[in-house]
Symmetry: C2
Subunit: 346 residues, 2 copies
């Protein structure tokens, strides 16, 4: 089947016996047009199943109705929830969302920004932890800066440092600290943390907050008590196994996984090892992704308003940069104690 060229505005105009300008005016409602002509154009457009070429529209100085969203992994519930918020706001504003998943590859992230820049996306949203890496930061800035100079909007969820962009910040540190206090309040003294790679700022912040919160109760967290693993369910699973294997002797009474996703894997690992939660070990996560309340036991965590995180970021981007300083919206988390944590028996 030969690919026939697309129906163009010119086809419509010709078919309706009017000029291009008139056809354009009718279809966009830009200016008033005599009723009969308007009628003819609409009819012709419908007849030919005309769809304006968005590229041509954009080129001709029209609007750019697409925004780019870059996250690490689309299938991670944490991002999915945030993306949900982003999409809602985008849809309400008639914007089309281009979603990109980097699979945690810094280079790919930069490449995507470049592509989005080429698309003249109205805005670019960066979702998730930034990489703590000078080279990456420079490369990123080199893409972002010209983009913004050209009128592009940029906003981010949960990153900061270096890149001077509008940000929606969940209170990772405060939330983790509050969680630590709640846990210590239950009577726990021996903790362990299931952390992600320290290159991610989210990990660093949550770890710091947790440590601080513990310190307030006179509990110190040693380096050995922190297990570093991949930032995924499998990472949590594997990390917990490692943690357990390491010290059959002096097990902690409470484990904090820096994300719910990791906690889910950890909980399964615990179960496989015949350890009961919270009977033998209490377990807590962070984020409150939707599914954790359905676990058995339901997971104690720090609730982040995930959808709102996305909505606010999209808002920031849409509202445009007001002053010269990057704006920061802080959203705090809230400790939610569920059945996965209890007073220690040991």
């Amino acid at each position: 089947m030969k690919a026939r060229p697309h129906v163009t505005l010119e086809d419509v105009a010709r078919s309706a016996n009017v000029s291009l300008a008139t056809a354009s005016r009718v279809l966009n409602g830009t200016a008033s047009v005599r009723a009969d002509l308007r009628e003819r154009v609409s009819a012709a457009a419908a007849e030919l199943a005309y769809a304006p070429n968005a590229h041509a529209q954009a080129l001709a100085g029209g609007t750019h109705r697409t925004v780019g969203v870059i996250c690490h992994d689309v299938s991670d519930p944490y991002f999915a929830a945030i993306a949900g918020g982003v999409m809602r706001v985008a849809t309400d504003n008639g914007l089309l969302v281009m979603l990109a998943g980097t699979f945690r590859d810094p280079d790919r992230e930069v490449a995507y920004v470049s592509t989005l820049r080429a698309q003249r996306a109205a805005a670019i949203l960066l979702i998730g932890s930034a990489f703590e890496d000078r080279a990456w930061e420079r490369a990123m800035a080199a893409e972002l800066e010209p983009y913004r100079r050209g009128g592009g909007q940029v906003a981010a969820v949960s990153r900061h440092r270096g890149l001077k962009i509008d940000t929606v910040q969940p209170d990772n540190k405060g939330g983790a600290a509050a969680l630590a206090e709640a846990l210590a309040g239950l009577g726990h003294k021996r903790f362990a943390v299931l952390a992600g790679p320290r290159k991610l700022s989210t990990v660093v912040d949550r770890l710091a907050g947790f440590t601080d919160g513990l310190a307030d109760h006179g509990i110190s967290l040693h380096e050995d008590d922190v297990v570093e693993a991949a930032f995924t369910r499998d990472g949590g699973y594997e990390g917990m196994k490692r943690l357990l294997a390491g010290r059959k002797r002096k097990l902690p009474t409470c484990v904090f996984a820096v994300t719910d996703v990791m906690a889910i894997g950890a909980m399964t690992a615990l179960r496989e090892e015949g350890l009961s939660v919270p009977g033998d070990i209490s377990l807590a996560g962070f984020d409150d992704i939707p599914v954790v309340r359905d676990l058995a036991p339901a997971l104690t965590t720090v609730r982040l308003p995930l959808e709102e995180l996305g909505e606010r970021a999209m808002d920031l981007a849409i509202k445009g940069a007001g002053g010269t300083r990057p704006r920061t919206v802080r959203l705090s988390g809230e400790v939610v104690l569920r059945e996965s944590t209890a007073r220690p028996k040991r």
Copy 2:
């Protein structure tokens, strides 16, 4: 801050002291250019942080490197998993993915296709159940047909009927039938089904398959045994509550939720009502989304190769329509018996 116009190819050419044509050739590697000129152009482009205007490229007859993906809900793990597969293949092929969520609104779905058509997306992927609705089908066909005539590729996951497009089909019917047999094989006689809206073909197919499978064991499913609820976790929760409330007396020994997501909600409802799974009631789902193996008890379900579903669909779209007939790739599911189902005690 005044939005300075974007850096254009012309700026680069001028700065490098060459013609537009030459600059274009260098940047695309289209033709050989004298080394020194090539050098000058590259340098100028880098210097100015030039990013080609993708719209202009597309307009000038260049390539369309974006594909559109339409699904019901981005934050549904089922779609997220499929989207993961789609994105992998897209990335491997240097394509940018535009993801749209319709929130199950048929009109919005049609509108998105229209927008994607305007974007001259290289391909459009429809993910998830189609609506069983003549009017919708006509509207959809009216958008899709001109799109394909203009050279656009269309592929879908898990729909068919009416729209004559390439499709990747999970074997909903066969999977559900196999599950029914496995469950009946465990000794269950009294079943109930937690179904989604019958407007969705997936629901219809799974229900039919399950009924058939049961029939093979001489078990019949009455209309009363099918509870219809929203196609979400909350739908599953609420549906199960309703199911339980309806018949305190003759409870089924086994409940089949047509999706894992609904099963998750159902399991929590069961737990809240003090019913143990599988002790009091066995529960099974469908899809095998990643999280269900981490539930306690782990969920019995029908495993669908979710990522592959997405990959194959993207493949179909990329490979383009060969013959005139729509192609169909069938992917079968596999019953996975886990702890949420057991022999009935009653």
